[in-house]
C-alpha cells in the first residue's frame, strides 16, 4: 500500500519535471530559431559591406581618346574612353588572343569606362601618363575573392572561366586586388549588375513612404482616438466603429494592397509605383495600430486630471486639448513609432501597387517611382545571380538596424517621458 503511494508520487513528480522540461525546451527552441536566423543573415551579409577592386595600370593615351592638344573640361567630358579602357584590360595579359581579351574585359564591371573617365576628370594632367586605377571587379570575381564561389566546379558550370581565374590569381599574388569598404552599396540605385547595385533608391523610397504614412496616419488616428475616448457617446454607432478598428488591425496586409490598387490607382488615378500611393496604403494599415495605442494612453490618464480642469471652469474641449492629450502624448508617440516600424517592414501591399518596378534612379520626391527596402529584398532575392545573395542579407541588416533603432526609440520615449500615476 505504502509502496504504491510512493510509486504514484514518484510518477507525479516525474510528470512535473517533464512538463517543466517541455516548457524550457519550447523557450529554448524559440530562442534557437532567433539565433540561427540572425547568425545566418549576418554571416551571409557582412561581406557585402566590402567591395573588391582590381588595380589596373591605365595609359591615358590622348590619341586613343581622340583628344586634341590642351583639351578643355568639356573635351575631356566628351572624349572616348572605351578604347583605352579596353586596352588597359587587354594589357593585363600581353599574349591574350581576341577571345581572351573579351574575357579580360568581363573581369571588371561594365562601369569601368566611367571609372577611368572620373579619374581623368579629377586630374586632367594625367593625359599621356600611366596611372594605376581602381576598377570595380565583376560580381563573380568579387565572390571568388570573398571565398563564396565554388572554384572546384567544372568550368562549364561556372560563370568565371579558368583563364579569368588564372589572371585573377596572378593579380592577387601581385597585390593588385584590394578589398575596401563598399560605399557604392549605400550611394548607388538598383542595378542589374550585382557589383553596382545599391540601396539608395529603395532607401529613399522607404523614407518617403514612411513620411507620407506618418503625415496621414498620425493626425487622423490621434483625432479619432480623442473622439472615441473622450467625446463619443456610448451607442451602437461608436460600438460599430470600435469593431471596425479592431478588425482592421487584423486584416491581412495584402488586402490593403488590393485597396490601393482598386481605389487609389484605378479610381483616383494616382501615379503607379510611387511612394505617395505606397504611403497612403501603409497609412490605412497603421491607422488602427496608432488609434489603439493612443486610446490606451488616453485611458491611462487618471480621471482626477480631467476633474481638476473641469472644476477650474475649463470646457470639455479645453480639458482634453490642454491637459489630457499632452499627458497622453508619450504613449501615443511610442505607439506611432511601433506602427511605423511595422509599415516599414511591409512588402506585399507595395508589390501590388507596382513598387516592384526596376528603378535605377534615386527618387527626389514622393511622386517619383521607387522601390522600398523590403521590396528591394524581394527583388534581389528573386534574381538568380550569386552576387545578390549577400546584397539581400546586407539589405536585411540595414532594414533590421532601422527597425531596432525605431523600437528602441519608442521604448526610450515611453520610459523617459511617460508619467507614472500611482
Amino acid at each position: 500500500m505504502n509502496k504504491n503511494k510512493e510509486q504514484l508520487l514518484n510518477k507525479r513528480y516525474k510528470a512535473e519535471k517533464r512538463f517543466r522540461l517541455y516548457g524550457q525546451s519550447a523557450i529554448f527552441m524559440a530562442l534557437l530559431f532567433l539565433t540561427v536566423f540572425i547568425f545566418k543573415i549576418f554571416s551571409t551579409g557582412y561581406s557585402a559591406f566590402q567591395k573588391t577592386w582590381l588595380i589596373v595600370p591605365v595609359t591615358f593615351d590622348a590619341e586613343l581618346m581622340m583628344l586634341e592638344q590642351n583639351p578643355s573640361k568639356e573635351d575631356i567630358q566628351d572624349a572616348d574612353y572605351y578604347d583605352i579602357a579596353l586596352k588597359s584590360m587587354a594589357d593585363l595579359d600581353p599574349n591574350a588572343n581576341e577571345d581572351q581579351e573579351n574575357e579580360l574585359k568581363r573581369m571588371v564591371s561594365y562601369f569601368f569606362e566611367k571609372e577611368i573617365k572620373n579619374e581623368l576628370l579629377n586630374d586632367p594632367s594625367l593625359i599621356g601618363k600611366t596611372k594605376e586605377v581602381y576598377l570595380t571587379a565583376s560580381d563573380d570575381l568579387d565572390q571568388v575573392f570573398k571565398g563564396n564561389y565554388p572554384r572546384d566546379l567544372p568550368e562549364d558550370q561556372r560563370r568565371v572561366s579558368d583563364y579569368q581565374l588564372k589572371i585573377f590569381d596572378q593579380l592577387v599574388a601581385n597585390g593588385k586586388v584590394e578589398s575596401k569598404f563598399n560605399i557604392s552599396f549605400f550611394t548607388n540605385a538598383d542595378s542589374r549588375e550585382a557589383e553596382l547595385a545599391g540601396i539608395a533608391s529603395s532607401f529613399m523610397g522607404s523614407i518617403f513612404s514612411i513620411l507620407v504614412c506618418l503625415m496621414i496616419a498620425f493626425p487622423v488616428a490621434v483625432l479619432a482616438a480623442i473622439y472615441l475616448e473622450e467625446f463619443a457617446p456610448k451607442n451602437r454607432f461608436t460600438d460599430f466603429i470600435e469593431v471596425n478598428i479592431n478588425n482592421l488591425a487584423a486584416v491581412p496586409s495584402i488586402v490593403f494592397g488590393l485597396l490601393g490598387l482598386g481605389v487609389l490607382l484605378a479610381i483616383f488615378q494616382l501615379p503607379r509605383s510611387t511612394p505617395l500611393v505606397g504611403g497612403i496604403t501603409l497609412s490605412l494599415m497603421t491607422l488602427p495600430t496608432i488609434i489603439i495605442a493612443a486610446r490606451a494612453s488616453l485611458k491611462a490618464v487618471p480621471p482626477s486630471i480631467r476633474e481638476a480642469a473641469l472644476a477650474m471652469g475649463a470646457s470639455r474641449m479645453q480639458t482634453t486639448m490642454h491637459h489630457t492629450v499632452p499627458l497622453s502624448m508619450p504613449g501615443t508617440l511610442s505607439g506611432t513609432i511601433i506602427g511605423l516600424a511595422q509599415a516599414l517592414g511591409e512588402t506585399a501591399p507595395l508589390i501590388l501597387i507596382g513598387m516592384v518596378a526596376f528603378v535605377n534612379t534615386i527618387p527626389g520626391s514622393p511622386m517619383d517611382p521607387a522601390a522600398s527596402l523590403p521590396v528591394q529584398i524581394y527583388i534581389w532575392a528573386e534574381s538568380a545571380e550569386r552576387g545578390f545573395v549577400e546584397k539581400v542579407s546586407a539589405c536585411i541588416m540595414v532594414l533590421l538596424g532601422f527597425l531596432i533603432t525605431m523600437n528602441l526609440f519608442a521604448q526610450i520615449i515611453r520610459h523617459k517621458f511617460e508619467k507614472k500615476w500611482s
Partner: protein
C-alpha cells in the same frame, strides 16, 4: 496656381486669427465682458475664413476636369463617335495643349486644344475670384458676429467636435473602401465564371486566361477548368495547418512556462527576445525560408531517400510557424496570468503539483482565451504573403504531401497582380475574387477570436 491659392488661403487664415484676437482685446478695453477667451474670437474668424474657401477650392478641383471635358466633347457630340474615340480625342487635345503631342494635328483637334486652353484659363481665374469673394463674405459675416460680442467658444468647439468625429470615421471608410474595391471586380468575375466552378473546380491555371485576346473574353466556356479555386484554398489551409503545428506547441508551452515557472529574471529577458520574432519583416522570413530552410530540407530528404522539392510547403509552413510563435506565446501568457490566484491556491491546497494545477485547473479556465489567441494566429497564417511567395511554389498543386510545393490565396494574388494589370480581364478579377474570399475568411476568424477573448476578459475582471 493652385499652390499659390492654397498658401494664400492658409496665410489669410492665420492673419484672421490675430485679427479676431485683436478685436477681442479691443472689446475688452471698452470694459465690456467677453463671452469667451480672446483666442476663441481668433479661432472663430480663422475657421470662417479658411473652411468655406477650402470646401469650394476642393470641390472645384474635383469637378473642373469633368466639366471641361464635357464642354470640349460637346463639339463632337453629334458626329457618332464611340466613347473610346471621344476619350482619345480628349487625351490628344490635352497633350496638344501641353505641347507634348507628336501625332498628326487635325484642325479639329487644334481648335479643341485652343478651346481647352481658354476654358482652363477662364476656370483658373474664376476659381480665384470665387474663392476670394467667398473669403470676403464669410469673414465679413464672422467679423460682424465678433463685433456684436456674440458667442464664439461654442461654435468653435462644435466645429472641433465635428473634425474629431470625421476623423473617427476613417476606420469605417477604410473598411468600406476595402469592400468597395473588392466587390465590383468580384461581381464582374462571377459574371464570367460561375460561382460553382470557382468554389468547387479543381484546376487553377490563371496563366491560361492570359493568352486569350479580348474579343474572346466574353465567352464563358473558355474559362471552364481555369479558375477552380479548390487547390488554392486547400493549399492555404494546408500551409496554415503546418504553421500551426509548429507554432501551437512551442508558443503555448513557452507562454505557460513564462507565466507559471519562469523566474522574474528569465521572464524579463526571454519575453522581449521571443517578441523580436514578431517584429522581423515577413520578407526576411521568406528569404530565410527560401535560402536556408528549403535547401536544408531538400538535402535532409535526399539523405533519407525522400524526394523533397526545394520549394516545399513544409519549408514555408515551418518558417511561418516560427513567425507566429510570439503571437501565441504572448497572448496565452497574458491570458494565463489573468487567471485569478485563488484558483491556483485552491488546487495547491488539495495537494496538486504545479503541472497538475496547470493542466487540470488553469488550462481549462484559460481555454477560451487560448483558443482566441490560436484563432488570431490562424488568421495571420492565412493572410501571410511573402513567406509563401518566396519559399513555396507558385503553381497550384492539389496535394497533401508537405514535401511538394503548393500555393496559397495570397501568393496567387501576388502572382497575378505583379507587373501591369488590365482591369476588366478575368485574370485580374480573379485576384480580387481571391482577395474577397481572403477578407471574408479572416474577418470571420477575427470577429470570433476577438469576441472570445473579450468574453474571457470580462469573466475575470
Amino acid at each position: 496656381m493652385n499652390l499659390i491659392l492654397f498658401t494664400f488661403i492658409v496665410l489669410l487664415g492665420f492673419t484672421s486669427y490675430y485679427f479676431g484676437r485683436k478685436k477681442a482685446y479691443s472689446i475688452q478695453s471698452t470694459k465690456k465682458r467677453l463671452t469667451a477667451l480672446p483666442q476663441f474670437y481668433g479661432y472663430y474668424l480663422a475657421i470662417w475664413c479658411a473652411i468655406p474657401a477650402f470646401i469650394i477650392f476642393s470641390l472645384w478641383a474635383i469637378f473642373e476636369p469633368t466639366i471641361v471635358k464635357l464642354l470640349i466633347l460637346s463639339d463632337y457630340s453629334n458626329q457618332g463617335y464611340l466613347d473610346d474615340e471621344l476619350n482619345l480625342i480628349y487625351e490628344k487635345t490635352k497633350a496638344l495643349s501641353r505641347g507634348q503631342f507628336t501625332g498628326e494635328i487635325t484642325p479639329f483637334i487644334k481648335a479643341s486644344a485652343e478651346k481647352y486652353l481658354s476654358l482652363r484659363s477662364i476656370a483658373q481665374s474664376s476659381k480665384a475670384v470665387i474663392v476670394l469673394s467667398i473669403i470676403i463674405a464669410s469673414v465679413a459675416y464672422a467679423y460682424k458676429r465678433i463685433s456684436s460680442n456674440s458667442r464664439t467658444r461654442e461654435p468653435v468647439e462644435k466645429f472641433l467636435n465635428a473634425v474629431l468625429f470625421t476623423a473617427s470615421l476613417a476606420a469605417i471608410l477604410t473598411t468600406v473602401g476595402i469592400v468597395f474595391s473588392l466587390i465590383f471586380q468580384t461581381i464582374d468575375f462571377f459574371k464570367v465564371i460561375p460561382l460553382f466552378d470557382f468554389v468547387f473546380g479543381t484546376h487553377w491555371y490563371p496563366a491560361k486566361a492570359f493568352v486569350r485576346d479580348s474579343s474572346e473574353a466574353l465567352d464563358p466556356t473558355m474559362y471552364s477548368d481555369t479558375f477552380g479555386a479548390v487547390p488554392i484554398f486547400a493549399g492555404t489551409f494546408f500551409i496554415a495547418f503546418i504553421a500551426m503545428c509548429v507554432a501551437i506547441p512551442i508558443g503555448l508551452m513557452s507562454g505557460i512556462y513564462l507565466a507559471e515557472y519562469a523566474s522574474y529574471k528569465v521572464r524579463q529577458y526571454a519575453k522581449p527576445l521571443i517578441e523580436i520574432l514578431a517584429g522581423i519583416p515577413t520578407v526576411v522570413y521568406g528569404f530565410f525560408a527560401a535560402l536556408t530552410v528549403g535547401p536544408f530540407l531538400k538535402e535532409l530528404g535526399t539523405s533519407m531517400g525522400l524526394e523533397v522539392s526545394a520549394e516545399s510547403a513544409l519549408a514555408a509552413g515551418g518558417v511561418m510557424g516560427i513567425m507566429i510563435i510570439p503571437f501565441i506565446s504572448s497572448l496565452s501568457d497574458d491570458v494565463i496570468t489573468s487567471v485569478p490566484q485563488s484558483l491556483r491556491d485552491g488546487s495547491y491546497a488539495m495537494g496538486a503539483t504545479k503541472s497538475e494545477t496547470i493542466k487540470r485547473v488553469i488550462f481549462p479556465a484559460a481555454l477560451p482565451g487560448i483558443v482566441g489567441s490560436i484563432l488570431l494566429g490562424v488568421s495571420r497564417a492565412i493572410g501571410e504573403t511573402m513567406i509563401v511567395v518566396m519559399a513555396s511554389g507558385l503553381a497550384a498543386n492539389l496535394t497533401l504531401n508537405p514535401l511538394e510545393s503548393t500555393s496559397t490565396i495570397t501568393a496567387q494574388i501576388v502572382v497575378i497582380l505583379i507587373g501591369d494589370q488590365a482591369f476588366g480581364d478575368p485574370k485580374t478579377q480573379a485576384a480580387f475574387a481571391l482577395g474577397m474570399s481572403l477578407f471574408l475568411v479572416t474577418l470571420c476568424l477575427n470577429i470570433v477570436a476577438l469576441r472570445v477573448v473579450k468574453k474571457y476578459r470580462e469573466k475575470y475582471e
